[in-house]
């Protein structure tokens, strides 16, 4: 998948925080991701390659929402933030 989305119609801004950046393209935590149509959040995460099980907090357009909600979709120019289950340190 071309993560810079050249030639794609829709683009989603992705912020993978903490250890979730491990799963970003080139282990980058911030990037734009192309999608070819509006889709459920879970499908988008699967395409990006982020294991849903390791996402503790999810925000759509900076609003924290429940990741398991099947009605949640991502569309063009949306921003998604994925946070891992933060532990001590």
């Amino acid at each position: 998948m071309d993560c810079d989305g050249v030639g794609q119609a829709l683009r989603v801004k992705v912020h993978l925080w903490g250890e979730l950046g491990f799963y970003g393209p080139g282990k980058r935590g911030r990037f734009e991701f192309p999608i070819d149509h509006e889709m459920p959040v879970s499908d988008a995460l699967r395409l990006i390659g982020v294991p849903e099980a390791d996402v503790a907090v999810f925000a759509l357009n900076r609003e924290v929402v429940r990741l398991g909600d099947p009605t949640l979709t991502v569309a063009d120019d949306d921003r998604i933030d994925c946070f891992p289950p933060t532990s001590g340190g």
Partner: protein, 637 residues
């Protein structure tokens, strides 16, 4: 063929001005292999009950872990243990860096300081030989000067120097120890204990190698090399390497568990001022501890609104949240300056920041008067300049520092007015920067830990929510199979906590950093077992390691019981039973009855009397600790 230890400890009688080396056999080490276990054993045996924490009868034990110095990432830690001047109970703090491994390579597993020197001294250890040297010229000097002077005097430019700062000299009850200027035994005031003995520093140089102590050096070396190669191939260790602990801030804020305004809120509206992007702009390098491929240590250097040099470590997450969101300061540069000042004077950033935030709230409530009580220092939420002014005053115990140096529990006792409800401490130790209303297992740890509100005594709840997650899978070899919601306090969570406490305690015995083993990071449970086997030749199991951890916890608990602690001390500050006032978890609190029931259930699992919180004779016997029940703490046979 070795068993991973030297089998020797150094005793320094500061009153008599003498040193002696004592030996222990392998059977002793299998029960008390190092770190917390070795230190707690000696503290219990040798400190008379009721000793003044800052008097000559207190015993300060500095103990390396079983694996400390092994060529295995994160095997760098040593424990500083004594009766705490901040809590009156079991004082405990670990640090990484280079001092612990160097001590091991100098032929010693631990140093025990007793008595009190009549004048300032420092201790020089070289390959098992020790001497007490005059430190009158070092007393009052800043840490870099002391380190340089010792290296010059010994002619050893790589001598590893463990020292106190001027806060330790002035007996501030939350003074810390530092080694190589960048690694800190921050918690419970071990710096004040060393200062009370008139010891400014302990420098060490060794010429052996850990592998010379190992049962199977080839296997241990191969394991360590493999781990180093894998460190960037695991999401958690990759994250620690690339971001360090400052990478935690944004996620905790999003989850609503970033302590804000003295734990009133769980989310900081100006988090971007202290978040990872802001931190990255001032980060100058990342450093590491001995032979550790994780390389998580952040270093900052800049000259802008403030000037911060790369002399010390950090700021780590704890300082960022402590002086940032919890004091309502949204300037990462100011936070970095506050962190640097704490390191320069030698005080624990967590207790310093927690005490400052508490005083800020007291000022807000009119219980502390800026002019009358703080000498005009305007400590209010958001006033970062006042924070910078406060830190040296704390170290010198002058002006506002006279009050601030007491710590939040003692200040609450002095000012009254119901302030103990928002004095965010347990047993006198200020809470680490982890909001337990969103992860209630952490609250169990805060409440029941013998040293007070420490965040590294068990697992943090969010990693056990989803059984498919990487950290959950990492915990499964410990026997954890059922998930538990982050805010659940039922039997599954209590069981997870019991396992986590024993495992983390075992890490403290082995000398492994919290950022090494699963479930927090990349070294799998079976690899920890393999490392111990290669180091010692012992046919250890996960269960034996958990029991070793449990034995250390029980010695700490016996110590506290002996010093008059009981179940009533295992309580949270009142604020945590009240609703969070802001952020995604607004309205959430810890139900008091549910929490008390969880503590009772935990005591039952631990074999402790639910009424008193004291270990039962049966549990002590099972752990081979029946000797601790004699009252004197001395072996009964």
């Amino acid at each position: 063929m070795g068993f991973g230890s030297n089998g020797t400890i150094l005793r320094v009688d500061l009153t008599a001005g003498t040193t002696a080396v004592e030996t222990f056999d392998e059977a002793f080490y299998r029960r008390y292999p190092g770190g917390k276990a070795l230190a707690a054993y000696h503290l219990l045996r040798e400190m008379p009950a009721g000793a003044d924490p800052l008097g000559p009868d207190n015993v300060l034990v500095l103990a390396t872990g079983l694996l400390t110095g092994a060529p295995v990432s994160t095997a760098t830690r040593f424990n500083a243990i004594a009766r705490s001047p901040l809590t009156g109970g079991f004082g405990e703090s670990e640090a990484g860096g280079y001092w612990g491994p160097e001590l091991k390579m100098a032929g010693l597993d631990a140093v025990i300081l007793t008595g009190r020197s009549p004048r300032p001294v420092w201790i020089w250890i070289r390959d098992g030989q020790a001497e007490i040297r005059d430190a009158r010229n070092l007393w009052g000097q800043d840490p870099p000067t002391v380190q340089a002077a010792i290296r010059e005097e010994t002619g050893e430019k790589n001598a590893r120097v463990l020292q106190i700062g001027r806060a330790g000299e002035n007996l501030v009850p939350y003074a810390m120890l530092m080694n190589d200027l960048r690694h800190y035994n921050g918690r419970t005031g071990m710096g004040a204990v060393m200062g009370s003995k008139n010891v400014r520093a302990i420098a060490v140089k060794g010429s052996s190698r850990y592998l010379q102590l190992a049962h199977d050096p080839a296997a241990l070396g191969k394991l360590g090399k493999g781990l180093s190669e894998r460190v960037t191939e695991h999401p958690q260790s990759w994250d620690l390497r690339t971001k360090g602990t400052p990478g935690l801030t944004d996620g905790l804020n999003a989850a609503g568990i970033l302590p804000t305004r003295n734990f009133r809120q769980g989310s900081f509206e100006q988090v971007e001022g202290i978040g990872f992007a802001a931190f990255e702009a001032i980060r100058s390098a990342t450093r590491t501890c001995y032979a550790c491929a994780v390389r998580c240590k952040p270093e900052t250097a800049f000259e802008d609104r403030y000037r911060v040099t790369d002399t010390y470590d950090g700021p780590e997450y704890e300082a960022i949240a402590g002086f940032g969101s919890n004091c309502a300061i949204f300037d990462i540069q100011l936070v970095a300056k506050a962190n640097e000042l704490c390191n320069e004077v030698g005080i624990d950033v967590i207790s310093a920041a927690g005490t400052v935030a508490f005083v800020m709230e007291c000022v807000e409530h009119g219980l502390i008067d800026v002019e009358r009580d703080l000498g005009g220092l305007d400590l209010r939420f958001g006033n970062g300049e006042a924070v910078l002014e406060a830190i040296p005053l704390i170290a010198d115990r002058r002006g506002a520092g006279e009050l601030l140096a007491l710590g939040s529990r003692a200040i609450a006792e002095r000012v009254g007015g119901g302030s103990e409800a928002w004095a965010m401490q347990v047993k006198g130790l200020e809470l680490a920067m982890h909001e337990p209303r969103g992860k209630v297992g952490v609250a169990l740890g805060y409440a029941t830990n013998e040293a007070g509100a420490d965040h590294l005594v068990g697992f943090h709840d969010p990693i056990f929510v989803n059984p498919e997650s990487v950290p959950f899978k990492g915990a499964m070899p410990l026997g954890i199979t059922e998930p538990s919601p982050a805010r659940d306090l039922g039997p599954v969570k209590v069981g997870i906590w019991y396992t986590g406490e024993r495992w983390n305690s075992a890490e403290k015995v082995l000398g492994l950093c919290f950022f090494g083993p699963a479930p927090r990071s990349f070294i799998q449970v079976e690899e920890v077992v393999a490392a111990v086997h290669a180091a010692t030749g012992w046919d250890v199991t996960v269960d034996e390691l958990l029991e070793i951890g449990e034995r250390a916890v029980n010695m700490a608990r016996v110590f506290n019981v002996r010093e008059g602690f009981d179940r009533r001390a295992d309580k949270l500050p009142e604020r945590l039973h009240l609703p969070l006032e802001g952020g995604p978890l607004t309205g959430v609190s810890i139900d008091r009855q549910e929490f008390e029931a969880a503590i009772s259930a935990l005591y039952t699992l631990k074999g402790w009397d639910p009424a008193t919180g004291a270990p039962t004779p049966e549990r002590l016997e099972r752990l081979g600790l029946e000797w601790t029940a004699t009252g004197s703490g001395k072996p009964s046979a």
